[in-house]
Amino acid sequence: MLLVPCPNCGPRNSTDLRYGGESHARPDPNTASPAEWRAYLYLRDNPAGWLRENWYCASGCRRWFSVERNTATNEFRDPPLPGDKRGGAA
């Protein structure tokens, strides 16, 4: 089971967290075309490699944070350290 680096709680079992999926910006709801909005809803890059993604520390601090993970090796790159204020969607 993956150890996920929560900036507050430290490395935690992935079952302690909720996977929030790929980070992606929310389009302006008033100007987005159906194609743009549905790309935001449903389309993911799903790369075999480095991916910026969101996690929610559901059983711990309940912080959403984003982190880069290599989906092929499960390595986390430059994981947030304690007190790191990065977070949210990129």
């Binding site: 089971m1 993956l2 150890l3 680096p5 900036p7 507050n8 709680c9 430290g10 490395p11 079992n13 992935s14 909720r18 929030g20 929310r26 709801p29 008033n30 987005a32 159906p34 909005w37 935001y40 809803l41 969101n54 929610y56 559901a58 309940r62 912080r63 959403w64 499960n74 994981p79 350290l81 304690p82 007190g83 977070g87 949210g88 969607a89």
Partner: protein, 953 residues
């Protein structure tokens, strides 16, 4: 083949003073403490333990250990026990499996005659057509299926779980594994050493060599003196991401099995090597064994494996078996040396025992009379844990086995898996591996601690990742011996011969992964430990390629089987109950499980509970209702963003219903939110949505609107929640509520008040009505829930107050036509389908799901409607389909249905196609029985009191 108990052996593990009596197929037997079931039976002269799966050929001991494919037995109500491993206990009732009508004489052996029909892939070829015969096929196949009998009356047994975080886990307790554990422990690491066998020592245990025995004594003494935690009769079954390990412990003093979940910082894989059988004609005849089996029988249990033996030896283990056999008086008829070109081509004899061996040795081809054939043809490297870590082992034809290629740096191999050496060499490599594992574990530990905010400060910098400077082990040359010049069994668990594999390859199943699935080779209880490489070799031969070119199958968890009990129990799932639960339990409650909650479903008669609420007053415990305390100046903006309706002008003391949609416009949750103070709101969610909505709120606040000032506190369990409903609820509340004016004008529908109730301060209550009655939803600090409930019961005894449960509430909400998110809506139900178009305010600047809801305005959507069957006594099943006439064209479905005790008729909610949503539309509902009934859509969702006069009262 005649096995018999011999005199005391210096290395034996049996206690001859402790005699254990047991039964084997109903007959009385005895063995000694320390015997396995198989060794005790072998000592008593038994040599047939099972019948093979397809051909029902008699089978005896092959390896005399855990992996022996022929030693599966039933012990009492415990099926599929490995008699080669399970220790004998007094009073055991051991029976053979898969041997109807008896082990020694059975009818299915006739299968042997049908062998040419039971070819590769015969399941796929034989039992397919005609399809209508399948039930018959299934019954026939079931009687052939191997495996023991499951007794459905077996009492529940206790299974345990343990979580541990050692620095180093060593899988395998041979000389290399023990040395690794000791070295890692000396270097300061916490170490867990896991031995698959009943005692540590690996192959030293059954060696009669004096130097081996001295080393074993020394290693065991060192372990005893160390801090290493040793688990015996336990197996590391799986390695997952970041060295998360599953370990099954089979010898727990209380639990049947214990599943240990270990987060190791480094893993040392030291499983040793597994003897590989050789493929030739008659290689499954009882009397053909591995050298390890011979040496275990002799040296551990004092059992002589036969009277006259041929030994086919291609390595030192075969040679050692010769010496052990001679010592106990087995006549060695011949030693055929596989290193110099000698070979064995077949055995002869009855189906029940070897009588002679056809060999091709230094004297040329000859037949040698013997009752025992020991075959030392090489080893399989059980690379499973490395496979699970992502490694793809590489075949070395010179050493005739697979070796690790590039495992991740926190997984280290040692012992036979890594190479060959003498005992000192193995111990040195093990120790070096242990030191490396400890050094790397220290670096991982430092990293974990320094990245945890509240951990103790960590000294110094993170240690550098220790380089692997171990002197590699050598690789002893070994002839590639997979199949003789004859065909024989490759997989003895599944009865797959080398001919079957050749046939499969010729039929096109020539990739090893395909051939495996087509023939089921390697898929039996041995799980490839004995037969994988022989399978690969057979495919390679059929393809005219090398083993390297064919490659091997991927070994996946578990390394050794574990029971479903170990995986399932013991659960750590909490059970939640409200503080009022003791009252429910004392009053004949029938509980229903809803997520983690146990909730009152009813108290005997839900229909009577409904009538009492409609006529008098009732109480329901709705504590699981989600409650989020929201504070801050930006709460209205948050509510406007999350709900489809408007919130900017909600006055203090007011309550409003809201519906939430996800970004795809699908209904997510609903509930009421009230404004308790200037910057203080209380949001309620559905009971099942409490956790999800909290995450949803946090997601918006943390990622999309981090600048907004809102504090969110989940208070679901901080309050006990009681809905007081019915025409007499105001009278009841006025008797217990001290400081609030409950008059209809002072405290009207859809408002909230804070109050002291039954002496309890800081309660709040809102006037809403899921049941459709005048009602007060009371939220009291959780510790006082039981007190307030009892106070209400006391105060209302003359008003006819009584409890009602979820079932009564469900009936009443259905009478009122209130939909339940997730019951009457599903994962495709857009907000407008609920009929609440007027709630959705598209003129708001932004809210979750707005674009999809705006586009939905141009589409016809399926609608939630209230439906009444024409026959008032027929209640269609929930999920019954609404169809077109006598066709099976689906036009919708019933989502909720009950018999209404208020209206004395059947009532429903359902979802229907857009053109069927108008009141008065006639529908056809297809019942589960196949009957079609007529039903009618009614004008509004409420079957009862559509004007809402009762709840506003």
């Amino acid at each position: 083949m005649t096995m018999s108990r011999q005199g005391v052996q210096p290395t034996e593990v049996i206690d001859r003073a402790a005699k254990l009596r047991f039964r084997w197929n109903g007959k009385r037997f005895s063995g000694f403490e320390g015997d396995t079931i198989a060794s005790a039976l072998a000592a008593a002269g038994e040599h047939i333990f099972s019948r093979s799966m397809k051909y029902h050929r008699p089978r005896g001991i092959l390896t005399a250990d855990y992996w022996d494919p022929n030693l599966m037995v039933q012990v009492g109500d415990d099926p599929n026990v490995r008699a080669g491993h399970r220790l004998l206990e007094s009073g055991m009732d051991v029976r053979s499996q898969n041997a109807w009508p008896s082990l020694n004489r059975d009818i299915k052996a006739a299968n042997s005659l049908l062998g040419r029909f039971l070819t590769a892939g015969f399941y796929y070829k034989t039992f397919m057509r005609p399809q209508w015969l399948w039930p018959t096929y299934e019954r026939v196949l079931a009687t052939f299926a191997p495996g023991g009998k499951i007794d459905l009356d077996t009492p529940h047994a206790y299974h345990d779980k343990r979580y541990t975080h050692p620095d180093v886990v060593v899988a395998g307790a041979g000389p290399a594994g023990i040395s690794a554990a000791l070295a890692a422990s000396s270097a300061g690491a916490s170490v867990l050493l896991v031995s698959h066998e009943h005692a540590v020592g690996g192959h030293l245990r059954y060696s009669s060599d004096a130097a081996d025995q001295a080393a074993l004594t020394e290693l065991r003494a060192a372990l005893d003196a160390s801090d290493v935690e040793v688990l015996t009769d336990s197996t590391v079954t799986g390695r997952y991401e970041d060295n998360w390990l599953g370990i099954v412990q089979r010898n727990h003093p209380i639990a049947v099995e214990r599943l240990i979940k270990a987060r190791a910082k480094t893993l040392v894989a030291a499983p040793g090597l597994i003897e590989r059988p050789y493929v030739f004609e008659g290689n499954d005849r009882p009397g053909v064994i591995t050298p390890g089996a011979a040496r275990r029988l002799i040296n551990l249990w004092g059992v002589k494996p036969g009277e006259r033996a041929v030994v086919f030896s291609a390595n030192a283990d075969g040679d050692a078996a010769v010496a052990d056999l001679e010592r106990v008086g087995t006549e060695i008829a011949a030693v055929i040396d596989g290193r110099t070109g000698g070979s064995v081509s077949s055995t002869a004899g009855s189906s029940r025992a070897v009588e002679a061996v056809m060999v091709n040795g230094t004297n040329g081809a000859e037949r040698i009379d013997a009752d025992l054939l020991v075959v030392a043809a090489g080893w399989t490297a059980p690379t499973s844990l490395l496979n699970m870590a992502g490694d793809r082992p590489i075949y070395d034809p010179t050493a005739a086995r697979f070796f690790p290629s590039d495992p991740p740096s926190n997984v280290l191999a040692t012992g036979g898996l890594a190479g060959d050496a003498d005992l000192d060499g193995l111990r040195q490599h093990g120790a070096a591996t242990g030191r490396l594992a400890a050094a790397r574990a220290a670096a991982v530990r430092h990293r974990l601690q320094s990245r945890t905010a509240r951990a103790l400060p960590v000294d110094g910098d993170e240690p550098a990742w220790a380089p692997d400077e171990r002197a590699p082990l050598g690789r002893d040359p070994h002839p590639e011996l997979y199949r003789a010049d004859t065909h024989g069994m490759v997989d003895m668990s599944e009865d797959i011969s080398s001919k079957d594999l050749v046939a499969a390859a010729h039929e096109g199943y020539d990739s090893v992964e395909l051939a495996k699935r087509y023939t089921t080779a390697t898929m039996g209880p041995s799980q490839g430990k004995l037969e994988t490489v022989n399978t690969v070799a057979a495919i390679a031969e059929a393809r005219g390629e090398t083993i390297s070119e064919v490659g091997t199958t991927v070994w996946r968890p578990p390394y050794a089987p574990l029971t479903l009990g170990a995986l399932a129990g013991r659960m750590f799932e909490p059970v939640r109950v409200s503080s009022i639960q003791p009252w429910h339990e004392a009053n004949n409650v029938s509980v229903i499980q809803a997520g983690q909650w146990l909730r009152p479903d009813h108290y005997g008669d839900p229909a009577a509970e409904v009538r009492n609420v409609r006529d008098n007053v009732g109480l329901i415990d709705v504590t699981p209702l989600g409650k989020l305390d929201l504070r801050g100046p930006d709460v209205p903006k948050l509510l406007s963003l999350l709900y489809v309706n408007k919130w900017m002008k909600l006055g203090v003391g007011r309550v409003r219903y809201g519906m939430m949609c996800a970004e795809d416009g699908v209904v997510l949750d609903d509930g009421v939110t009230g404004r308790l103070g200037e910057d203080h709101y209380m949001m309620s969610t559905t009971s099942s949505g409490a956790g999800g909505v909290w995450e949803w709120v946090e997601n918006w606040l943390q990622t999309e609107r981090p600048d907004w000032q809102v504090h969110v506190t989940p208070v679901t369990t901080a309050y006990a929640s009681i809905n007081v409903a019915g025409p007499k609820s105001r009278e009841l509340m006025s008797r217990v509520c001290e400081d609030a004016d409950l008059d209809a004008e002072a405290f009207p529908y859809m408002t909230v008040r804070q109050a002291t109730v039954a002496g309890v301060e800081d309660c709040f209550m809102w006037r809403i009505g899921f049941t459709g009655e005048l009602s007060f939803e009371l939220h009291v600090p959780a510790g006082h829930g039981l007190h307030v409930w009892e106070a209400l019961m006391d105060a209302g005894s003359d008003l006819g107050v009584g409890p009602f449960g979820l079932e009564g509430q469900r009936i009443m909400r259905l009478e009122k036509g209130h939909f339940i998110v997730g019951q009457d809506t599903d994962g495709l139900t857009l907000g407008p389908s609920t009929g609440l178009w007027s709630l959705i305010k598209l003129d708001k600047d932004d809210f979750a799901g707005k674009p999809e809801l705006a586009w939905a305005a141009d589409r016809s959507l399926p609608m939630v409607v209230a439906i009444q069957p024409d026959d008032p006594d027929v209640v269609p099943e929930e999920a019954a389909q609404i169809v077109r006439g006598n066709t099976n064209e689906i036009l919708g479905r019933i989502t909720s249905s009950r018999y209404s005790p208020t209206l004395n008729r059947s009532i429903c909610l359902g979802q229907v196609e857009p053109d069927l949503a108008a009141g008065g539309t006639k529908l056809t509902v297809l019942l589960e029985s196949g009957e079609r009934i007529g039903a009618t859509v009614i004008d509004h969702h409420a079957h009862f009191d559509p004007a809402g006069e009762r709840l506003r009262g």
